[in-house]
Symmetry: C2
Subunit: 329 residues, 2 copies
């Protein structure tokens, strides 16, 4: 099988609704700053009604990552489910327009396209409330064996540990990837996801995962510790590579038993951290797929993350390939 793609990703296909908010709003609405909470349709309608005016932009964690890989000049494919509605049109347009292969059939009759209500506080922190809608209807049948087989790296979004059918889709995809000698990457996505599925995630990581992405809270939740260095050490031997983001403190890349510290790229003003981890993963995955050194992979991740937090919206506004070239990467 020819390698057509650097990365094929499976995730929740979501359109983001992003608006400014203050800390009092988060408190009034019972929102935990920086987290992602799942909400039902009634809560989504209520919360949207309370939110400030904002913008809409295609999102979804793994979808943001493959968009970033495409922006870096990489070849990527995406598996996720949207409905046959206007927000589905937006999602499908945006991911195709940036050059990512995406041909999962729309959900015909059922829930509308998923949306994530994102309240951004003046410190740039994003707090997410997700109505999964159609994204939750991803099935095993949506995983194209040819597409997964044709990608150097299969990238899986931890959020999909919630719906059981999506976990079956993961199992199908990982089996195909293994058969074709591909690498398997996973992001833990959110510390609440880790709390809900710790045992299943640990088993999956040990069995299937070559490359793990997490932020500090997520990796600490995985090992039920407050000690980030201990948590990173806990991954040694379980995965070939672990990339742990530490927000403004950069990231730690574990590879071959050694931990490399990567500085965060400087940003004039942090406007909206939505997509920071997703774009970091894009840089690292692109680097790994292209055989770059660990420190170069980390630098690409930092560069991509810095671009996306400097503006509203979870995907790059400018060509990351151009930015990387300017930075000598």
């Amino acid at each position: 099988m020819t390698e057509l793609y650097d990365v094929a990703a499976i995730g929740n296909a979501i359109v983001d609704v992003i608006a400014p908010a203050d800390d009092q709003f988060l408190a009034d609405q019972g929102l935990v700053k920086g987290s992602m909470a799942l909400i039902d349709d009634a809560r989504a309608l209520y919360l949207y009604d309370q939110m400030a005016a904002g913008i809409e932009a295609s999102g979804g964690s793994a979808a943001n990552t493959v968009a970033g890989i495409a922006s870096l000049g990489g070849r990527a494919a995406y598996i996720g489910k949207v409905a046959n509605d206007q927000l589905g049109d937006v999602f499908a347009h945006d991911i195709s327009a940036i050059g990512v292969a995406f041909d999962v059939p729309r959900l015909a009759d059922g829930a509308p396209t998923a949306r994530c209500l994102i309240n951004v506080t003046p410190d740039g922190q994003r707090t997410m409330s997700t109505f999964l809608g159609a994204s939750n209807q991803l099935t095993v049948a949506d995983v194209s064996p040819d597409l997964v087989a044709a990608a150097k790296i299969l990238y899986l979004e931890g959020y999909l540990f919630d719906p059981i059918e999506a976990r079956r889709a993961f199992a199908k995809a990982t089996a195909i990837a293994r058969t074709h000698g591909r690498q398997i990457a996973l992001t833990l996505s959110d510390s609440f996801v880790v709390e809900r599925h710790r045992a299943a995630l640990l088993g999956f990581i040990e069995t299937e995962v070559d490359i793990l992405f997490a932020n500090a809270a997520e990796v600490c939740a995985l090992f039920e510790t407050q000690d980030i260095d201990a948590a990173i050490a806990g991954l040694n031997g379980k995965v070939a590579i672990a990339a742990v983001t530490r927000s403004a403190h950069g990231s730690s890349l574990l590879a071959g038993g050694a931990v490399t510290h990567i500085e965060a790229s400087p940003v004039e003003k942090v406007v909206d951290t939505t997509g920071a981890g997703d774009q970091y993963a894009a840089g690292v995955l692109f680097g790994l797929a292209r055989g770059r050194s660990i420190s170069q992979c980390g630098a690409l991740g930092s560069l991509a993350a810095a671009e996306v937090i400097s503006h509203y919206g979870p995907r790059p506004f400018v060509s990351l390939q151009t930015l990387a070239a300017k930075a000598g990467l």
Copy 2:
């Protein structure tokens, strides 16, 4: 009748789709840089398919203006038509969330909510292709007499000179405004609109308009001249106040036979000029409704325009009231 509103506006209710493009793209697609072209649904689908990934944001010229007035701390109302679809939800949410009164019934069965495909070139210039959809179905019945009567200023969007039914809505609204001794403001919107309806616009201006907004190209088109000063002079006696924007060169405010030059507010980087004229109008209209001096009105217009061109999207991201207070306005 109590004055409940500073401004009531009538316009095309539109959701913007904003994406980066280069000059070659404009040439390939036959788009005239800086202009607004009306397109049908087939062309809208085709052009969207060709466009880069972008963001969606509520737009519509007069809707942007009343959103700006609300952001300045003013009270505003809006009359425009959206469909009962997801983009209609976005439009209705955003204008209500910023505090603008909006209760025009949705178009039940028919065209979808209007969208404006906006290609933004690296120079910050915006080129617009508008599919009018449901916005084109605004009728006389949608003009609430109580709402128009309760606003100090009625603000009309020149784009609505295209559909004959909307012109009838204008006639109804202006009659109500006159009866209640309100002021009537009009924006010329676009030089092609002026070309299409020059005679009708000139007649309407002389008969009904107290406050006219235009950019240099529009006012020159109105008088079929290349001489902007002659064009501005031509408005003297026809309207009480004329505000003519001259992009980076600021604006000229004609009032009582005298022309006051207003400097543009400095902007670090012009990202996207979408909504610049709309926010300028917001500042001037808010100032006029609150009895500010002509130069203060102009300064408020420049301040509002500077905010909106510093980011993607046609409406302010931050409170214009706070910005104005900081600037001593």
